[in-house]
Structures are given as structure tokens and as C-alpha cells.
């Protein structure tokens, strides 16, 4: 697949449908040995990757608008989902909710001794 930067990378996609992976499937299933390999994929572009990243960062930044931190760390997972004809990137889900971890810190130079703190939060 192609990253938005144009750099090609290989991805191994686990087909989500149980029909392709599970022993308990009720319908037809292709019977290759490996997990489905994405095609050589100069034509498969990772849709929504940049938008996903930009959206998360912008949302966090907006939430801290009134308390702009001096440093900000945002951790989140990107899940690559195979759909017919496309690979999509979405915020990775853990237990049904997407997790974003935020760590912000402030250097309180204007308040006497230096002070720093951090916050972490999960957001759905």
C-alpha cells in the first residue's frame, strides 16, 4: 500500500469476516495457508490516514485551547481495515472504544518556582 507520503509499505491484513478466518464459519471460505496478503499495492492507497491523524491532534489541541500546554504528547492507535478495493485507516478500538492518551505539561515560569504537571485521559 501507499502512505500519503508516497512511500510504499507492505501490510498483512487479517480479514475481519469470520468467513475467512474462523473454523466456525457458516459459509464458503478461501483456503490459503497465510493470512490474506494485500496486493502489490502501488494502487492501494491508505485512505484517511492523514485525515485521521490530523483530526485527533486537532481535537486534542482544541480541547486545550484555553490552557495551551508547553508540551503535548498524544498517543493513539491507527487500525488498517480492509474493505473491497480499499484500505481504510481508523482510530484503533480497544474493547469497543477508541483510546487516546494525552500528556500535557506546563512550565510555570511566571508563577515562581518551576512547576510541571501532566494529565492523561482516555477519550471515546
Amino acid at each position: 500500500m501507499m502512505l500519503p507520503s508516497g512511500d510504499p509499505i507492505w501490510v498483512r491484513v487479517q480479514v475481519a469476516e469470520s468467513a475467512a478466518t474462523g473454523e466456525q464459519t457458516a459459509g464458503p471460505a478461501d483456503v490459503g495457508l497465510g493470512e490474506r496478503i494485500a496486493p502489490a499495492v502501488d494502487t492501494l492507497r491508505l485512505r484517511g490516514f492523514a485525515e485521521t491523524v490530523r483530526g485527533v491532534v486537532a481535537s486534542v489541541w482544541e480541547a486545550l485551547d484555553e490552557h495551551r500546554p508547553d508540551s503535548l504528547q498524544v498517543e493513539f492507535g491507527i487500525e488498517i481495515v480492509a474493505r473491497p478495493g480499499a484500505l481504510l485507516s481508523v482510530l484503533a478500538e480497544v474493547g469497543g472504544s477508541a483510546q487516546v492518551r494525552v500528556a500535557a505539561s506546563w512550565d510555570r515560569r511566571d508563577a515562581g518556582p518551576s512547576l510541571s504537571c501532566s494529565e492523561e485521559s482516555d477519550a471515546e
Partner: protein, 278 residues
Amino acid sequence: MRREDTAERLLAACSVRLDTDAGPQGTAFFVAPGYAVTAAHVIGGADGLQIQLVEGPHNWHGHVADVRPPHASETAAMSPYPAPDIALIKVDDGPEHACALLSRQLPGAGARVMARGYTHTFDQVAVTAETETFHLTGTLETPDRDCRLLKLGLGEVTKGMSGAPVLDLGTGDVIGMLRTSRKLSSNLGGWVVPADLIRLLWPDEVGLGNDRFHERDSRWREGTHQLREPSAAKEGTAAHGGASIEGDVVSVITGGNVGSVNIEYGRRSGHRDGSGTL
């Protein structure tokens, strides 16, 4: 010799394990000198992908030369893979090899067939050859109006059998390539891409190549001659005759060992398109 034994040896002579850089992916079989086929989903629809074919001590290097359907980027993640789900492999380097005798016509209803593929049935780790018999139970139309799949039943299609040759136990011809299980962990069988379609998809490389190979080397036909005779329906005991002839011919084809390609194989060079011996 029982017809199942004959079939196993013939299938062993033409089928191989297909590996990529990621390891074993499924099965393929030789259809013409320098050419093999596998299911498109086995190689992820990746046209040009470098692959390796392995059978016992022998291995062949090659690449995916064509994929059907051709627009893999739109189909690679679908399951079941769109019809016909087949890829042509060009062998770039490796020893000479046998070729399956591709049928020109659909088998009769209820025909008994055998497939040979590379599975990890034994312990879910080691990839080993496995055979299974089925009955032809019908056909299945697909959205591709040029592709009508054959349906097998009364046998289990396990993971790894994609790309396996399916041999008609009544004629010795290979009727097609296994691609899909109708239901895993059941005896509902699977779907087969018919041999006549494989011929049509690549008329020069496969159709003509297969014909020329078997015109030049008659041993596959000779080895299956007994299967074609009515009396062969009563196979399995020496009392029905013909077993020794059949066994001798098949031994010549396969080197006498199931799983061994041929005693004359092994001369590694750039692949020669033509005068291979079985």
C-alpha cells in the same frame, strides 16, 4: 494398484507447495513446461510477486505472471475471492517437471475426484501434503458469466488446499483447481475452477503448452489408461487385473515414490521450455 494410489502418485508428480517471503501460502500445480497455477487469493492477487515452489528436495523460483480477475487492488480483501480466482506463475529457474493432464470437458455428474494440497492439518504448524477424495455434486454460476465453478462434496477442504489440482478418478484427467471450502471443518467439499476455463484463460501458455507436453510425453495418458476402462470401476484387488501394468507406468512417471517428483529431475538451470521428461 488401487486407482486412489495411482491418483496420489500422479498428483504428487505435478503439485507443489507455494512459498513467499512470508512462508508457505498454499498449493500450486504445473500445467505446462515452465508454468504453474494457483489461486489468486493465495498470492494476494499480487501480480509480479516473487514466489518459490517446493516439492520434496526440489524447488523452483518464479513470479506471478498474470492474475484473474486482473484488478487485484479492488478484490484482494474480499472473501470469497471474486471468480475465477486464479493466477498464472512463470517458472524462472528450477529442474524439469511433470505437468498435469488438463481435461477438456466437464466431468460427469457424481464423478469421484481426488485433490492434493499442502496443509497444516497434522499439528497446525508443519505444512505437509494431504489428499482427499470428493464427489462432483454440481456447478455454481458466478458474477463472471464466463466462469462457472464446479462444486465438490463428501470430503473436507482444509486450509492450504487452495491451488490444489483435482483429478478425476475415472479418467485420470485433472478437472480443475481447488479454490474455496464450502464450509470449513465439514465434509461439504469446495469449489473448483474448471480445467477448460484455465485453458481458455491462457490459450498459449497453458492450453497449447499442456497439449504439446502430453503429445510429446504419453506417460500420463498411459498411466491412467486403466482408469478409463469400465473394468477399472472394480479396482482394488488383483483379481480385477491390470494393476501391475498401471503400477509400473505410474512408477516411471513419479520415480516410484509418492511425493517424489521424478528420478530424472534435478538438473537445475534456466528453465527450458519444452523437452522435459516426466
